[in-house]
């Protein structure tokens, strides 16, 4: 099966334009990262210089990996059911677009802002820590391994949440229900990263590589499975 880049780009661009002009989505995209930024920021900024020794064995910043998981799930959960509720779903499948292209366009439109926001929030967090934290705290927090984990796992987790979110969106009857279910379905990945962040699961290179490989496979499968779940007929007629 060949994928038309132009058609994927058309959906991607259309989605981004719609997101930009949809106040609910913009607010949702802003609130979640803020919530996840404020709590660790307050905790880190309140640490004394003596705490830096303890931080060397913790991975608190991995907690921020919840941002790509949750933001992308919220966006993706809106994508199909949102169109269905607006009554805009019939004309697009009437064009030569394949469902894989349609869903890839939708997924990219959730992926790019989620990953961009996650990286931006992470960079903002690091900058604030560097400027305002007690001496010794910033070097203790900023480790190459954590930075790499953030860089690698942000897109992988976002991708996984997006496919779960879209899969829910193709089956849900209402945007709010889809978004709640999408967030709920992303919680396992948030729990795993939180357990690593709080040292319940000991992070190692093998755990990281294993996790990345699993997420890569899941992302690839996610596209195929979600495409198979995308029932054009049911979405248009509301039957079956």
């Amino acid at each position: 099966m060949s994928v038309s880049r132009r058609r994927v780009r058309a959906i991607f661009r259309k989605e981004l334009r719609e997101y930009r002009r949809n106040r609910t989505i913009v607010t949702g995209m802003a609130i979640l990262p803020l919530l996840f930024l404020v709590q660790p920021l307050v905790a880190v900024l309140n640490l004394g210089a003596s705490a830096s020794g303890g931080l060397a064995h913790e991975h608190e910043l991995l907690y921020l990996l919840a941002i790509p998981a949750l933001v992308s799930a919220t966006l993706a959960a809106y994508s199909v059911v949102g169109e269905r509720q607006q009554g805009t779903l019939e004309p697009v499948p009437g064009t030569p677009i394949r469902r894989e292209e349609f869903l890839l366009g939708k997924a990219l439109a959730s992926f790019v802002p989620s990953v961009a926001i996650s990286y931006a929030v992470y960079a903002f967090f690091l900058a604030l820590v560097e400027i305002f934290a007690q001496p010794g705290i910033a070097p203790a927090l900023l480790r190459v391994s954590d930075l790499l984990a953030q860089l690698v796992f942000t897109p992988l987790l976002a991708g996984w949440s997006i496919w779960v979110g879209i899969a829910i969106s193709t089956r849900a009857g209402e945007v709010r229900v889809a978004q709640q279910l999408g967030v709920l379905a992303s919680l396992p990945s948030v729990v795993v990263t939180s357990l690593i962040a709080f040292n319940v699961i000991r992070p190692s290179l093998i755990v990281a590589l294993g996790g990345a490989a699993v997420l890569l496979v899941l992302n690839r499968l996610g596209w195929r499975i979600t495409s198979a779940m995308f029932d054009r007929e049911r979405l248009i007629t509301g039957t079956r």
Partner: protein, 367 residues
């Protein structure tokens, strides 16, 4: 490196292919509004495709049906539509018209029968290929309301991979008289204007077969007339049009043939054919005073199959050839010394045909 080379090859290929297919200029003579807009949505490619397929129907269905579980949406629908023909698809609410359009438009799969659309068999694997050659304007415009008119069309031009999308969009907008509203958000447009944007969207792909699901619903008379002119123009350009409508006068005016669907196809044919098929041809005679012996005047005429008195001075004669019968009846009336006010053929409208068939169905259901 491989990706870079592929990208460069792709760029070069794009440059060497012709940027856009020129539109065939066809001068309209009797549609000033359309001529003023100067729009033609026929390209050499489409003309060639139509010529090549001239023998095969543009659209055909054989025993086509769709069920949703136990509910029959439509059943046993068979017809053929030639290239450049306009078929009016009529029927009451819930008759299965929209489901038929969606089925032929590959949006939903039929549960029985077969069909060819734009010369391609309607199968799951052919969906993309069929949708390249057709366009569907659904009942509800389904526009992205937060996007401008131009942005909506831009998206669809890309989905159809239309060459030279900017030009296509301009022409489509001019065709529906919306060139000056291109930058308006669709959400700010009236229902009628949204309908016109949806029509412009359907024209973007230069379709061989165009499905219009109630294109004039909610339009004012002027906008309706514009849409009618556009449909007539498209038909002249060789576009096959499948038009579902509730407006019988619209069907009568625009369509070469009409089909009446009420879950099953009740009838199909030219409007005058359907009238002849359903109603006996009649002459209506009106005299100044009642005829003293009408039986003597009418009964002996070979051109008259039967007669009845409708009113004191009105007589309805069943005839097989109204032109022939009119002469004979006139002569007979003059010989009888009658003061004839008028003799004319009774005209049944498409509405009469429609109501007759739908009422038959209703009565059959009640029985």
């Amino acid at each position: 490196m491989i990706y870079l080379i592929r990208w460069l090859i792709g760029k070069l290929r794009r440059r060497t292919t012709s940027p856009a297919e020129p539109l065939v200029a066809v001068s309209g003579r009797d549609e000033p509004a359309v001529r003023a807009r100067g729009e033609r949505f026929v390209t050499p490619r489409k003309v060639a495709a139509c010529d090549a397929n001239r023998g095969a129907p543009a659209l055909s269905a054989l025993g086509l049906g769709k069920r949703f579980g136990d509910r029959v949406a439509f059943d046993d629908v068979s017809f053929e539509i030639g290239h450049g023909e306009v078929l009016g698809f009529l029927g009451p609410n819930g008759a299965g018209k929209t489901t038929t359009v969606r089925t032929l438009g590959t949006l939903i799969a039929p549960t029985s029968g077969s069909a060819t659309v734009a010369g391609i068999p309607l199968t799951k694997d052919n969906g993309v290929e069929i949708r390249r050659r057709i366009s569907i304007m659904p009942e509800s415009p389904g526009l992205y309301l937060r996007l401008s008119v131009a942005e909506n069309l831009e998206c669809f031009a890309d989905l159809y991979e239309a060459p030279n999308p900017g030009d296509r969009i301009d022409r489509a907008l001019r065709a529906v008289n919306l060139a000056d509203r291109a930058s308006d958000a669709c959400g700010s447009l009236s229902k009628g204007l949204r309908q016109r944007v949806a029509l412009a969207r359907a024209l973007l792909s230069d379709p061989q077969v165009l499905f219009l699901d109630e294109p004039t619903a909610g339009l004012d008379p002027v906008a309706t007339r514009d849409v009618h002119e556009l449909i007539a123009e498209l038909r002249r350009s060789g576009v096959t049009i499948f038009l579902t409508t509730h407006r019988l006068e619209e069907a009568e005016r625009l369509c070469d043939r009409v089909a009446i669907l009420n879950t099953t196809l009740r009838t199909i044919g030219r409007p005058d054919e359907l009238r002849d098929r359903l109603f006996a041809r009649t002459l209506t005679v009106r005299t100044l005073i009642p005829l003293p012996e009408p039986d003597v005047v009418f009964a002996g005429l070979p051109a008259v199959d039967g007669w009845r008195q409708d009113d004191a001075c009105d007589y309805v004669l069943a005839v097989s050839d109204p032109d022939l019968a009119a002469h004979a009846v006139t002569r007979a009336l003059v010989q009888a010394g009658a003061d004839v006010l008028s003799i004319g053929e009774s005209r049944h409208s498409l509405e009469d045909v429609y109501l007759e068939l739908i009422n038959e169905d209703e009565e059959a259901r009640r029985r």
